[in-house]
């Protein structure tokens, strides 16, 4: 609690002064010029999260359903082990792998490769929360549905998943909050970009990479931009966590 409050307080007091409308809507200016913002990094982070989520959310939920439906199968055992190992893999290693397997063959840094690297990081978190949530859904609901003549796959889609929706959503949002702040895998993949870019085949900037680059630069005005970007990132993560709280309270299904 105290470290959290200290961090939030410190970041906000340092970052709030650089925040303004132009900060959020303009792209960075060269050293020495006034003004400029982090719009390109926000767009980049947004693109990366979308690219990461499109394959990982459905895949992660499907894998979580499989693990909770076939608890004792061999494949589930190995799948669970793989999930744990993947969750424990340092993000920089995932970044290097994405570099070797995506960036090198594709011949250049891109938002796509960065998004996929982040997606791989998201996957184990979504799988685990989905599995854990669905394990709490009582079997009696599944029986009720099957006894009404509802086929198995429809029972999963229309009874089991909706019953676990709040937990699954929580897992997804928390994993988004996690990857939004990841820097290491992006250094070799999405790289960074001083300009606005919506093309997923080209490098994009992102909030954590911008913070990294600007905070390690020798220019005080860039440090201020880094503080401002940190502030935006922290507020985003805090907001997501608040949304999670609201979802779990509002959508909670009582069994």
């Amino acid at each position: 609690m105290i470290p959290l409050l200290l961090i939030v307080f410190y970041i906000i007091t340092n970052g709030i002064s650089s925040l303004s409308w132009t900060f959020l809507t303009e792209i960075p200016t060269p050293v020495g010029e006034k003004g400029g913002g982090i719009a390109n990094a926000m767009v980049g982070s947004f693109l990366l999260v979308i690219i990461a989520g499109i394959p990982s959310i459905p895949l992660g939920i499907a894998a979580g359903v499989y693990l909770s439906e076939h608890k004792k199968s061999k494949l589930a055992y190995w799948g669970r082990l793989a999930t744990e190992v993947l969750q424990g893999t340092p993000s920089i290693v995932i970044g290097i792998m994405a570099y070797l397997w995506l960036v090198v063959p594709m011949g250049g840094f891109s938002a796509l490769s960065g998004g996929i690297a982040l997606g791989i990081m998201m996957l184990p978190m979504i799988i685990r929360t989905t599995e854990e949530t669905l394990n709490l859904v009582p079997d009696s609901l599944k029986e009720a549905s099957l006894a009404l003549g509802v086929p198995y796959y429809r029972t999963i889609l229309r009874v089991i998943l909706p019953a676990g929706l709040s937990g699954i959503m929580t897992g997804v949002l928390i994993s988004v909050a996690r990857i939004a702040g990841e820097t290491a895998p992006l250094l070799f993949t999405a790289l960074g970009n001083a300009f606005m870019n919506w093309n997923i085949m080209k490098p994009v900037n992102s909030l954590p990479v911008l913070i990294y680059n600007y905070a390690t630069s020798p220019y005080p005005e860039w440090h201020r931009v880094a503080w401002g970007a940190s502030c935006v990132l922290v507020v985003f993560v805090l907001t997501l966590n608040l949304v999670v709280r609201i979802i779990t309270r509002r959508w909670k299904v009582q069994f």
Binding site: S140, E143, S145, L146, A147, L148, P151
Partner: protein, 252 residues
């Protein structure tokens, strides 16, 4: 005897290598309540779960023998069809917690992707809730979640849900074991009203309950069907010694 709507022929059920129902032959008469009675763990629930093909959903389960619905072997039919024609009410009320009362009643249609017009569904909802004697209590709260109801009301909601798909047979698996005496009485009364419309099979370990609601009783002991007959005869002049001992409370 009345025509049999459901007939088990040499029916055996296994969990792995464990034989839990042993070569049962049983004819369930149409429009009556048949109670399957016996001590805990005697295979009653397993037996009726063979009747709507729920038993086979347990990974290690196996079945031998045949079950006929009218003249059709249900193990040759599509299990989905079997389960819409033979409904089931469980031990614990299990309404769908994310659905309203209304949606719970028509869940059998909704979940199967059957589109109902607004008037069709309201007709089904009202008729089913009427039959389950729940309409008067919930007609003003149809848009609330089913889990707001009391245990007994939830169980009647589950009965309405099972009735909504218009089954030939309803299987009750100890439907009152999780309910208080008042709610139990209510459900029992409801069952005797329901037999006009649908054939009922009731699993119970409670002799008094079998006596109160059923027309026929089957006594099951360690997986074997010991005795089957009209209620009066079985309860007063049982032919088998085991039945007699069970009725006298010597075990169970």
């Amino acid at each position: 005897m009345e025509s049999a709507v459901l007939k088990a022929v040499d029916l055996s059920a296994y969990y792995g290598d464990n034989l839990v129902v042993k070569r049962v032959n049983l004819s369930v008469p149409e429009g009556k309540i048949t109670a399957i009675m016996g001590p805990s763990g005697c295979g009653k629930s397993t037996l009726i779960r063979c009747f709507n093909r729920m038993h086979e959903l347990t990974p290690v389960a196996k079945i031998d023998g045949k079950v006929f619905l009218r003249d059709e072997d249900i193990y040759q039919m599509n299990p989905i069809t079997v389960r819409t024609r033979i409904g089931m009410v469980f031990q614990r009320p299990n309404p769908f917690p994310m659905m309203t009362i209304w949606d719970n009643v028509i869940a059998g249609y909704k979940l199967n992707g059957v589109k109902l017009s607004r008037s069709e569904s309201s007709e089904i909802v009202e008729a089913s809730l009427q039959k389950a004697a729940l309409w008067d209590e919930v007609k003003d709260h149809l848009r609330r979640r089913g889990t707001f109801l009391s245990g007994g009301q939830q169980q009647r909601l589950c009965i309405a849900r099972a009735l909504a798909v218009k089954p030939d047979i309803l299987l009750f698996d100890e439907p009152t074991s999780a309910l208080d005496p008042k709610a139990t009485a209510h459900i029992e009364e409801l069952m005797t009203q329901l037999k006009k419309a649908v054939t009922l099979v009731l699993v119970t370990h409670n002799i008094a309950q079998a006596g109160r609601v059923s027309d026929f009783i089957a006594f099951l002991y360690v997986g074997e069907l010991i005795e089957f007959g009209p209620k009066g005869q079985l309860l007063t002049t049982p032919k088998d010694k085991k039945t007699e001992e069970f009725l006298a409370g010597k075990f169970g």
